[in-house]
Symmetry: C2
Subunit: 516 residues, 2 copies
């Protein structure tokens, strides 16, 4: 069996850096102490302790900035070589000396997180870092999307002469071992610098990819305790060590490791990193996991739509040519209906009002309140995304389909879920992007405002835009703030907006009881 | 891209069967309904709904026995082909007809879970099942430990003519893709029956192994929702489908799948299946995960010891020749100290008594209560396993090491954790296995009884064997019952046992206050 030593393969633990995404880069002092004590006794060569960063508006903690006293404390606690990482795009080459000055004498290696399109700029940064006497590693992200030109690029050749390590980063965590083999084989032809691998675990390939990378000559592998890291997380150090012990007889004290793993497992119960179906799909299709999760949580967006829209994966749902919506009829006023509880609560008054003024159109940005608006003389517009189509299908009786327009956004245009039965399918139309959708892509409120503009509405009466109550998630709050922005723009564009029902949004109120 | 259809590869979902290990094979009625509705819409061909079993002493629920009304209900809910599984070793060939009678007309396929050494018996069972008109699948367990003879066995040839599927089961969940390739290549030479793969996820290889099996010609793959299954769990159906959709354009409705996955995720929060370091090690070293977890939880056993003992993996911790314990000195009485709270509570009286009778020896089966017994004139014996050594090291001052014997069991004999400092290391001795350890391997109570026997003790006074209080885990209860058994044997062997402090164990009490 191959024995692992300094000549064959090295391990780097980046728990504090990658795990920091969940804790704003603050960790309990006792845990940090135990972490370093444990690492000191494990066959790990480098500890990446965090970022060096410029000040940000948002609070970030100790291991995001690594001020001098934190660096010194790490040095005191650790018997291993320490590394920090820089977000390459955050710095100019001439800023490197200042940002790294406190690291001199403490930090052994500086790593650069780099996107492929910024390689030429990274050359300058790498050069500046190297001149300060640090080891330099370039961590090139998005390996699943690298194109062929990369391997022959001039920048890569220059970097080859500067770097100590060149890392393949599987940012989306969706590469397969066969792709790892191809990537390493091309890199080994192009470069003489030592290669490394940093794997994410979206489709549970982090271990097998790392073992494959080792077989392909990778000299250094990254991992974190319990896989702590953004989204689906990283390769688990305890899993890597179990296999390296088995396969290469790397010496491991599993008891001391397990004590630390148990501590981080508790953190995991709180922060819940690890993979799930949206993350798996973002891995399989090389989609940013923030985008997928954000859409699922914020937009109640269909996973089918996301996969379909972003992957161009083929014809697994029926392809249907959906015509563009065209409309000459104009409306003086529109009632805009959101997904809150008020329309149901004020149902009687709202219905009375609409019956009295059939020339007012209703625009549903959500299908939540469809039942309140059944069997009315008014024209109604439905803004539909994946999940909304399913909701609507369940709530709308076939008998009530006249005077309704079913509109989908051009982004989701070709996707018709199989279960959206034919009675509705033929009625679907695509809404051309107006200025609201151009700015607020995939927002149904933006769709609604584009419809209002298209049909000449001067005044909008809102209901069901109640705002949040009680505990609110990050995504809900962002949605609230985005809607508020859209309303501000509409007002400054000359539209008159008022809410018929109680709301937390900043706008004038016009009680539904004061209308008739 | 290869299109998945009935000619290429089939999927089998066994969530109710494998997930049942966590729920005693009962599942909420609404969840079962949603499960079948979802499966009906997914590209899954077979649903394995559970076991047919003989009545057991212990309660097991609907999907463990599958009585006729449960079978019929599944038939009503499912549009897919249904399968059940038998534990082959539970039945004789002549019992097959009776146990499967209710399945006729409802169940399409009967699977047999078989250990390699029982292959010849399985032939008879398979034959009896086939004669009833069912499809038959043989799921051969422990693939990581199959030996070469298997592939040329006569039984395998006979089975080839009977079976519809022959499954490779990675019971320990620790196989690597290269082993999958070898195994399938040998099987394809030996067999003409369609092959299948059932993977566990201890080292997160279930997906890559299943994809590899497909590449190697496996016609059928098992998975469960959220990987629900014993210990580290199974291949996750949602992960498999994500990749099959990506790689082979298998049509998947991810929204309906995600709705189900969210329900099972809640179950996972309660039951906490999934991998952890002990399960990873059991995978990597083909050790039964029950054994590893049982030892860690029940014995406070060192992971290093387990790996070391069972894997014969080499010399990763210092080898030290530890001499066998030899002792001519005899003691009339021993005080046996367990890990409960009473010794501390009755500390004053216990210490007074021991000071008065220095000829009584103290035997610690746990290091929990060491502090209560510091600086006494009595000889003391310490029964040490991995974690106990660490505990003891922290609690015992260097000044108090005279008159103490530090004994380890022969099973753990060669393992000295690195952090057990030299002041204790040279004092370690190995306790030869006596009749108690022979019967109760790795039990520290058995070690203590062997010491007592060796040093001629006639009477044992117990403290710290309090029994459980409040919530008790399965492991704690098993330990309690085992200890009770050991005490019964000791009594029937002529030893006089009594507890000095309150206890739930069945034995005579002799209050510590009544002694002096």
């Amino acid at each position: 069996m191959l024995k692992l030593d300094h000549k064959s393969i090295q391990l780097l633990d980046c728990t504090l850096r990658d795990g920091g995404y969940y804790t704003h880069w603050d960790f309990d002092e006792k845990l940090v102490k135990q972490y370093f004590e444990t690492m000191n006794k494990l066959p790990v060569k480098y500890i990446e302790i965090g970022y060096r960063s410029k000040p940000k508006q948002k609070y970030q903690g100790a291991f995001y900035y690594l001020p001098e006293h934190v660096l010194k404390n790490c040095q005191k606690l650790s018997s291993k070589k320490l590394a920090v990482i820089l977000n390459e795009k955050e710095f100019l080459a001439e800023e490197v000396e200042e940002i790294l000055a406190p690291c001199v004498g403490i930090i052994e290696m500086v790593r650069l997180a780099v996107a492929p399109e910024r390689l030429s700029h990274a050359v300058k940064i790498a050069d500046a870092v190297k001149k300060m006497g640090f080891m330099v590693s370039l961590n090139l992200m998005y390996a699943s999307k690298w194109d062929e030109e990369l391997y022959s690029s001039e920048d890569l050749k220059i970097l080859d002469g500067i770097l100590d390590y060149f890392y393949v980063v599987d940012s989306y965590g969706g590469m397969l071992p066969s792709e790892i083999r191809k990537t390493f084989s091309k890199l080994k032809e192009a470069l003489s610098v030592d290669l490394g691998f940093h794997g994410h675990n979206n489709i549970e390939m982090a271990l097998v990819n790392s073992l494959t990378a080792i077989e392909c000559g990778s000299k250094i592998i990254d991992a974190t305790v319990c896989g702590m890291g953004r989204g689906a997380g990283n390769l688990k150090m305890e899993l890597l060590l179990s296999l390296l012990y088995k396969k290469y007889e790397v010496p491991v004290d599993f008891d001391i490791l397990n004590d630390l793993v148990e501590k981080f497992s508790k953190l995991k119960d709180d922060y819940k990193w690890g993979t799930n179906l949206p993350y798996m799909l973002s891995g399989a299709f090389s989609l940013p996991q923030n985008t997928v999760m954000g859409r699922v949580k914020k937009r109640f967006y269909s996973l089918n739509t996301i996969v379909r829209e972003l992957s161009e994966a083929g014809d697994f749902v029926e392809e249907t040519e959906i015509p563009f919506f065209q409309q000459d009829k104009k409306y003086p006023k529109a009632m805009l209906v959101g997904g809150g509880n008020t329309p149901k609560k004020f149902s009687g008054a709202i219905r009375e009002y609409l019956k009295q003024y059939p020339e007012i159109c209703v625009i549903h940005s959500s299908s939540k309140n469809v039942e309140t608006f059944l069997n009315l003389p008014n024209d109604q517009f439905h803004c539909l995304t994946g999940k909304e189509i399913t909701r609507l299908e369940k709530k709308l009786p076939s008998a009530d389909r006249d005077r309704r327009y079913f509109l989908i956004s051009p982004e989701a245009g070709v996707v018709v879920p199989g279960r959206f039965s034919s009675r509705f399918k033929n009625a679907l139309e695509t809404l051309k992007k107006g200025c609201y959708q151009e700015k607020y892509n995939l927002s149904t409120t933006a769709m609604a405002m584009d419809i209002a503009t298209l049909v000449g509405v001067q005044q909008i009466l809102l209901t069901g835009y109640d705002g949040y109550t009680g505990q609110v998630s990050k995504e809900q709050l962002e949605l609230f703030e985005e809607n508020q922005e859209i309303f501000e723009e509409a007002k400054s564009g000359g539209l008159i907006l008022s809410s018929l029902t109680p709301t937390m949004y900043k706008m004038s109120s016009k009680s539904v009881y004061s209308l008739v």
